[in-house]
């Protein structure tokens, strides 16, 4: 097999590895996934950042060398071939043509026949000569076909050089800018390490917005950025996903976003019936209760949580469940739990269903289980009612329905006085739910998100790429070359006029270097045209 083809196949097989093995992930994840033996094997081969390893780059280097060698070896010959082109042709070669036709014409004036053929082949590039009594007409179409090969090979070389320039003289990294804050450092992965680079300017994120579709899918991410160069604000602009910002040779792209440390207020509801209190914390911070040792590590905050509320198979029904906080709660003697807690009570069919909490004991969001707490914690009266009720039934026999009812009634009176709230029946059901649910909670208190001051960070991709234009030039040449190669086949025709016994013997031969099927079609047309021109139907001999 030719060397170039082997190289192409080896490159493609090598490329497969990097698509199967996820590239540039956390090292800990790799270790966890593959185990120590495979991890170190893969790591020493550089497979976690495969496309930048010495051996992959060497393969690309070989490809470049092979392309250069091919160009150096063949271009002079091809250029010469395209310039020259023998007009006469040996009888023997003509006999071997795939496409051939012959006529015997009574016309003996060669010039007349030559003009007739010239008119019939007017779109062709014609040359003629006379040798040993025979007149040769050579017609060419797509004589520059070989430029196709030259351009395609050159283009690949140019693209590879452009890619090398991008890697060598450019950079590509990430920058996270919290709303209202400034940043000028980007980080990127090099092999297995993270490296940092300072930009020649600072970026301030003034604002970050997300716009949603009614289905809850994000519709647009938009950052309002200001570039500060040498202490002066030089440029303020919005960027969205497909519309980056350009400054001093550097592009800033909208690539991700996340919580930038939103301030949160929690209200803690002690399960021993004590007084509630409020605490302040923020996303990415951990708050620890000095008394009980229970800690809340806030991991995320989302102001919108749109979910499909329909049963599977039913038409979809999207609903925003409102703001939610994710945190990990750790309590002495307890396993840590991951919680997603909604700020507002859950409503269904116009009825208040109380608070929902998603609880995962494994720490994995896929294992979330819904826990209905029953109470609407945004209404302080409900918590009072719960406690009043709990106090009354704590020492009573809970199986006595009537006693329970009396206890509830008395608790209602304590909290609401004479005026019952309109939804007191719902409230009763939910209080019972709370009575069965809340005492199972292992912590000293129930933390409920109360209010928030939201702040995003915008994730920017920052790049400089001096090779990109070289790549585009190479690409343009590539497409242009391919078009010549595929759609401008070199077609050659020879018309040989040979005086014979007072008549003229005319032979037509044609060949093409690609797309034979289409040529067959054209050749038949030419035969018809020449027959008209010579006023003669072709001889039915020697036809292939």
């Amino acid at each position: 097999m030719p060397l170039a083809v082997v190289l192409l196949l080896v490159l493609s097989i090598a490329s497969v590895i990097g698509t199967v093995l996820l590239q540039n992930q956390e090292q800990a994840d790799y270790l966890h996934q593959y185990g120590p033996i495979w991890y170190w094997t893969f790591r020493s081969l550089g497979l976690f950042d495969m496309y930048h390893t010495w051996w992959f780059l060497t393969l690309l280097g070989f490809l470049m060398a092979s392309l250069s060698a091919c160009l150096i070896r063949n271009v002079p010959r091809m250029l010469k071939d395209m310039r020259a082109g023998k007009v006469s042709i040996a009888d023997k070669s003509l006999q071997n043509f795939h496409h051939k036709e012959e006529w015997i014409s009574a016309e003996t004036d060669i010039a007349t026949l030559q003009t007739a053929a010239g008119t019939a082949l007017r779109e062709w590039e014609l040359k003629s000569t006379e040798e040993e009594g025979c007149t040769y007409i050579r017609a060419d179409k797509g004589r520059y076909h070989k430029w196709g090969y030259i351009l395609v090979h050159t283009a690949i070389l140019v693209i590879l050089i452009g890619g090398w320039m991008s890697v060598q003289f450019g950079f590509r990294g990430n920058m996270a800018v919290v709303e209202g804050a400034m940043e000028n450092e980007i980080s990127f992965l090099k092999g297995t390490d993270t490296e940092y680079l300072d930009m020649p300017f600072e970026v301030r994120c003034n604002d970050f917005f997300i716009d949603f579709y009614p289905t809850g899918m994000p519709k647009e991410f938009r950052s309002n950025l200001t570039i500060i160069d040498g202490g002066k604000e030089v440029l303020t602009s919005d960027i969205i996903v497909n519309e980056p910002l350009y400054y001093k040779g550097i592009y800033l792209y909208q690539s991700s976003f996340g919580d930038g440390g939103s301030k949160l207020k929690f209200k803690l509801f002690p399960l021993d019936g004590g007084k509630t209190r409020s605490i302040e914390t923020a996303v990415y911070q951990t708050w620890t209760d000095p008394k009980t040792g229970t800690s809340l590590e806030i991991t995320d905050f989302k102001p919108f949580n749109v979910e499909n509320m329909a049963n599977p198979g039913q038409p979809k029904k999207f609903k925003d469940l409102g703001p939610a906080v994710e945190y990990i709660i750790r309590s002495p003697g307890q396993d840590p739990m991951k919680i997603k807690s909604f700020m507002n009570p859950f409503e269904f069919d116009g009825h208040n269903q109380g608070m929902l909490m998603l609880v995962s004991t494994t720490g994995d969001a896929r294992d979330y289980r819904t826990m209905a707490l029953g109470l609407d914690f945004t209404n302080p009266k409900e918590w009072q009612l719960y406690n009043a009720f709990l106090r009354r039934i704590r020492n009573a026999d809970t199986s006595n329905k009537k006693a329970n009812f009396e206890a509830f009634k008395s608790a209602m009176e304590e909290v609401f006085g004479k005026e019952r709230p309109a939804d007191f029946q719902d409230l009763g059901m939910r209080t019972l739910q709370a009575i069965s649910m809340l005492p199972k909670i292992p912590w000293a208190f129930i933390p409920m998100p109360e209010s928030f001051e939201q702040k995003y960070y915008t994730g920017l991709q920052v790049t400089r790429d001096p090779g990109v234009n070289v790549v585009w030039i190479g690409s343009a040449i590539l497409v242009f070359g391919l078009c010549i190669m595929f759609y401008m086949p070199h077609r050659k025709l020879w018309v040989v006029l040979k005086p014979e016994n007072g008549k003229t013997h005319i032979t037509l031969g044609g060949m093409t270097n690609s797309n034979r099927l289409a040529f067959e079609h054209s050749f038949n047309e030419i035969v018809t045209r020449l027959s008209d021109a010579f006023g003669q139907s072709p001889e039915q001999r020697g036809k292939v």
Binding site: P2, A4, V5, L8, L9, L11, S12, S15, V16, G18, T19, V20, Q23, Y51, R122, E123, Y149, S166, Y213, P214, T215, M217, P218, K219, E220, F221, I240, V241, N242, E243, P244, Y251, Y253, S255, A310, P315, K316, K317, F318, Q461, T463, D465, V468, V471, W472, S475, L478, V479, L482, C483, M485, F486, Y487, S514, N515, R516, L517, E520, H521, N524
Partner: protein, 414 residues
């Protein structure tokens, strides 16, 4: 094999010489007019408003028809100045495609009149939209076509072959029109949601069927390669079953576009890619036909089935021809994909699995062309090459979405 087209004289007159040439220029002028509308009016191209400009009388109507008239005039001048230019090969080859697309547009417009009232269409319940039913009809027709073509191999009655061809043609037009209709429907649901129907796996599958079948049908008409149809339509029918499965997963719903896809690049990058994929599918079918014929020649040299097949040399050429259509389109699609990536992700190449597999496909067919053109290979080896090449393409298209993650994750099954 001679390339023949047997058609009625009036029809033939309309499709050759000056009428065809002027029509071609009318299309060019029309498209140029719409491009000018996008670029010149009201401060340049705006993704959200362009489609509304396009369907308005003052926008698309005026600019499009104006452009078409200017195109006809330009074509007419050209035909006077250079009479031989009316025989342009490009015009002759592109015209049937442009005609076909116009016909699809007209069919889609006709069908859109049957669409339920906008108030009855909601995002949550898309069952009343009719494109789904047309796609179902297309599915049935493609399967019927596959059955007919295969039957035709065993019972070579011209009638059965014609049934296959006819149903494949109808299915192709049904699929193309249904996609255009789906575009319209996405705006019917909500103008915010509206987008070109090339945004998820289900939609691009339909596109792939239509392109594959159209490329094949044009070849069949020109080169009478009906035996190959059995393989092309079998491939399409397999795809149809996959698409039906996707539909059962709820993938057929029109969904809004994620921010990364909100770009005019999507409308260019995706269809071009599928021209490549479709052409590679036809090349694969030609390769399979070649291998079958090769086998039959050795086992049953006088078999009746053999007489239906194009010769080995012709099949070899047909495979090459398909690759010659697919490879430049695929190259351009990959380059434009890189251009889009440079605009959206901040780098023209990220070694994302989809990109890398596109490169693998490109290298594979590049090697195919290299051994063919420079080293004169052909025959059985390259027939196998075309078949394996399509498997690689298929993995690039579906496999990457199913098994590998990466930046092209919107094509994922979820």
């Amino acid at each position: 094999m001679t390339a023949t087209t047997s058609t009625a004289p009036a029809w033939a007159a309309l499709n050759s010489g000056k009428p065809a040439f002027l029509r071609y220029y009318a299309y060019l002028g029309f498209l140029a007019g719409l491009t000018a509308l996008a670029l010149l009016t009201d401060g340049g191209y705006n993704e959200d408003t362009y489609i509304f400009k396009l369907v308005s009388i003052a926008g698309g109507g005026l600019w499009g028809i104006g452009g078409a008239l200017i195109g006809v005039a330009a074509g007419f001048m050209l035909s006077l100045a250079k009479p031989e230019s009316t025989d342009s090969r490009i015009a002759r080859n592109l015209l049937p495609w442009l005609d076909g697309m116009l016909l699809m547009l007209v069919i889609a417009w006709g069908l859109s009149l049957l669409e339920p009232h906008q108030n009855l269409v909601t995002y949550e319940d898309q069952s009343k939209l009719i494109s789904g039913r047309i796609i179902m009809a297309m599915n049935v027709l493609f399967i019927f076509a596959a059955v007919s073509y295969v039957m035709h191999l065993f019972a070579p009655a011209a009638f059965i072959g014609r049934m296959g061809t006819l149903s494949a043609w109808i299915a192709t037009y049904a699929g193309g029109s249904a996609l255009i209709l789906r575009w319209y429907e996405s705006y019917l649901i909500d103008s915010e949601i509206g987008h070109a129907p090339v945004s998820n796996l289900y939609e691009v599958f339909i596109l792939l069927f239509c392109i594959t079948s159209a490329i094949y049908l044009v070849m069949e008409r020109r080169y009478q390669a009906r035996a190959m149809g059995a393989f092309v339509m079998l491939l399409v029918a397999c795809g149809v079953f996959f698409a039906i499965w996707l539909e059962s997963l709820g993938q057929a719903d029109i969904k809004p576009l994620v921010p990364a896809l909100q770009s005019y690049w999507m409308k260019i990058h995706v269809p071009l890619n599928f021209i490549g994929y479709g052409a590679f599918a036809v090349a694969c079918a030609a390769g399979m036909t070649y291998l079958l014929r090769d086998r039959l020649e050795r086992s049953k040299p006088n078999g009746r089935m053999l007489s239906l097949f194009p010769s080995l040399d012709q099949l070899d050429q047909l495979a090459y021809k398909s690759v010659a259509i697919g490879f430049p389109a695929f190259t351009l699609a990959t380059i434009l994909g890189a251009a889009w990536a440079a605009e959206a992700w901040g780098g023209y190449w990220s070694w994302d699995p989809k990109e890398t597999w596109a490169l693998i496909v490109w290298l594979f067919y590049g090697a195919y062309l290299h051994v063919r053109v420079s080293h004169g290979w052909g025959g059985k080896t390259l027939a196998w090459w075309a078949v394996v090449g399509f498997l690689v393409t298929l993995f690039c298209f579906v496999g990457v979405n199913m098994y590998l993650s990466g930046l092209h994750s919107y094509g994922r099954l979820s």
